[in-house]
């Protein structure tokens, strides 16, 4: 297994080739940065302040338990409204509040007395992308929706690859009855319209995050399994496996030390496309109303809200722009990785 982590010259060559494909390499950098930033979304997009200085004391409310209003000199015991506090302290001069870039959390309804939501984008209220139909900040919901979608699809990816690689490698390596049995199962399974069954299942129970992963996983393992089966089948017939066998290596040693390292570079080329598929799957389910329960911030929910309220153009256009950017970046990444790890050289004629 160690050979996976030691950078041999071949791997370095692949990485350099990947870096030389600028479109994919920059997409990779930006995308990784966005994922990392989304991990700290609480300090970028939140109704809690980053820093409160009140009567000489410093407070960092972003993480941890709530600070009741009374602590900060407001006359109530529920959580402080930091946006109000900011105005108040500015007037009185007894301290200051630093708010995140987007001072709203994705669940709160920011309503006013004079009109009804959705409100168009406004820099004055810091609703940079406007609000949705019940007054929640679109930008905040986009950011948290991105985090949900990306972690959904990353967890889905890891688990489905674990299942796919182990079953697929076993099918390809051992063959025989085990192979035949799973071939039938896969044939039946892959012919079931998967969105259909997911819709039936999630229309009877309201799935939470992990249940939804399990549901999508029910069908998500097939592709990788089938692919690994073919690859293992091919690798098994090669001389190095025969040599290992002749030396008396055990089956598990051959699979883990010899066959798997040789398939890794091909598995890697699948990753970006699986990420994109995970995001699309979650968004489609949420769009149809069979995904995560409200009020979970999600792109699919924004998409359906936006397409039902076409006169509030800012809702649908911001989610579409966000989705397009992310998916195109992931696709560019995928193409560059494929090009770097599994290059196709063609003869061309002048």
């Amino acid at each position: 297994m160690m050979s996976l982590f030691n950078l041999n010259p071949l791997t370095i060559k692949k990485i350099n080739r990947f870096k030389s494909i600028r479109r994919g390499y920059y997409s990779f950098i930006i995308f990784t940065l966005l994922v990392l930033l989304s991990c700290f979304a609480e300090v970028l997009v939140n109704s809690r302040a980053l820093l409160v200085s009140y009567e000489g004391n410093l407070y960092f409310p972003s993480y941890g338990s709530i600070i009741p209003g009374r602590t900060l000199g407001l006359g109530y015991d529920y959580e402080t409204n930091y946006r109000d506090l900011q105005k108040k302290l500015k007037d009185s001069g007894s301290g200051f509040v630093i708010m995140p870039i987007i001072p709203y959390n994705p669940y709160e309804n920011d309503l006013n007395d004079s009109s009804f939501p959705p409100f168009p984008p406004s820099f004055e209220d810091s609703h940079y992308l406007g609000t949705d139909t019940i007054g929640r900040d679109v930008a905040a919901r986009l950011v948290y929706g991105f985090r949900t979608a990306i972690f959904f699809s990353l967890i889905l990816l890891v688990v489905s690859y674990l299942i796919g690689v182990s079953i697929g490698a076993a099918m390809g390596y051992y063959g025989g009855l085990f192979d035949l049995l799973f071939q039938r199962i896969i044939e039946i399974w892959s012919n079931i319209p998967f969105l259909y069954v997911i819709m039936i299942i999630s229309s009877i129970m309201i799935p939470n995050f992990f249940m939804l992963i399990v549901i999508v996983l029910l069908f998500g393992w097939i592709q990788m399994t089938w692919y690994m089966r073919t690859v293992t089948y091919k690798e098994k017939a090669r001389e190095y496996v025969m040599a290992a066998k002749a030396l008396g290596a055990s089956n598990s040693r051959i699979i883990f030390n010899h066959i798997l390292p040789n398939t890794v570079s091909i598995i890697i080329t699948f990753i970006p496309f699986s990420i994109a598929n995970g995001i699309i799957a979650l968004t489609s389910l949420d769009y149809l109303g069979f995904g995560l329960p409200p009020p979970t911030p999600s792109w699919g929910e924004l998409l359906s809200q936006g397409s039902n309220n076409l006169e509030s153009l800012w809702i649908v256009s911001s989610v579409i722009v966000a989705m397009t950017l992310i998916l195109v970046m992931v696709t560019f990444m995928g193409e560059a990785i494929r090009e770097a790890f599994d290059p196709k050289k063609h003869t061309t004629y002048e």
Binding site: R184, E187, I188, N191, I192, P193, L195, Y196, V197, M199, I200, I201, S203, I204, A276, I280, T283, S284, Y287, L288, L303, G306, S307, L310, E311, L313, V316, S317, I320, M323, T324, L327, V328, V330, T331, F332, E335, K344, H346, T347, T348, Y349
Partner: protein, 344 residues
Amino acid sequence: MTQYFIRRLLLIVPTFIGITILVFVITRFVPGGPIERMIAEAQQASMQTGGMSQSVGSSIGAATLDEDQIRQLEEYYGFDKPVLVSYWDWLVKVVHLDLGESTRYSDPVWDTIKDRLPVSAFYGIMTMFITYFISIPLGYMKAVRHNSHFDHASSIVVFVGYAIPSYVVGIILLVVFASNLEWFPMGGFYGDEFEDMDSKLEQVADIFYHAALPLLAYVAGSFAVMTFMMKNSLMDNLAADYVRTAIAKGMPFKQAITRHAMRNSLIPIATHFGNNISVIIGGSFLIEKIFNINGLGLLGYESIVERDYPIVLGVLVISAILQLFGNILSDICVAAVDPRVQFR
């Protein structure tokens, strides 16, 4: 070879049973089935009328359906028997081409499906033609001018088309061209005045006027894969020895492509045809939902939402059969266009 395809055809039977039994069992064990729905409706009805007609509606007004009525309903839908027994009953009926009746409209399921099939098929076949019409020339040009500016620029378009799911393209088109610019209608298969139109020509024009945006969405979803397939297979063939030989002998490049390389590059495209079958006829319910087109996909979606299981199963039967035959058909296509392929 014939033996192989006969074996494949026979394997359809267990696979078909596997698929349907799974969905049948799921529909059986989920709460909120047709009977619960009727009880709820009866409850609602009694709540609305209950106040006014207390004397008349002693039986109706009794909050819900009584035990006898529920049992009757269960018998009517076959819910009183064990799952496998009623599955068997259902399967025997399906073999006799009887898909049962919709629990919501009490129309025969087959009639409902028959109404919707042409709509989805229209979109499917049109999409296929347009996709081939764009992808083959585009793939050809990209392969011939590999690494040129044209190749790079068109690659970006194709990548974007590949990255965005087709229903999102549908929403974008709807927002821009139907809602904002108002160039095209918001949805539907044809307009309100369709019945009153004088000539067939006008009706056809109306259908295409309504079909423009959905078709674009469908095509956007499928042309990317096809274009890359065309480009890559043509590039592979251009690099093959027989084309190199032809060019070395002095054959003009153009001729080498059209006479030799092009023919072989169309093989993967041809084999892809069989895979399309279920999409061609089934349609994409997401696009049908967005544009409010009464096709097979939307029917399946609505029947799931409404728990109309006979229709759910009916649509499943049709799409499963199409898919299973489609798989075999694409293998037949492979064998037909490429004599080197041997199935055993």
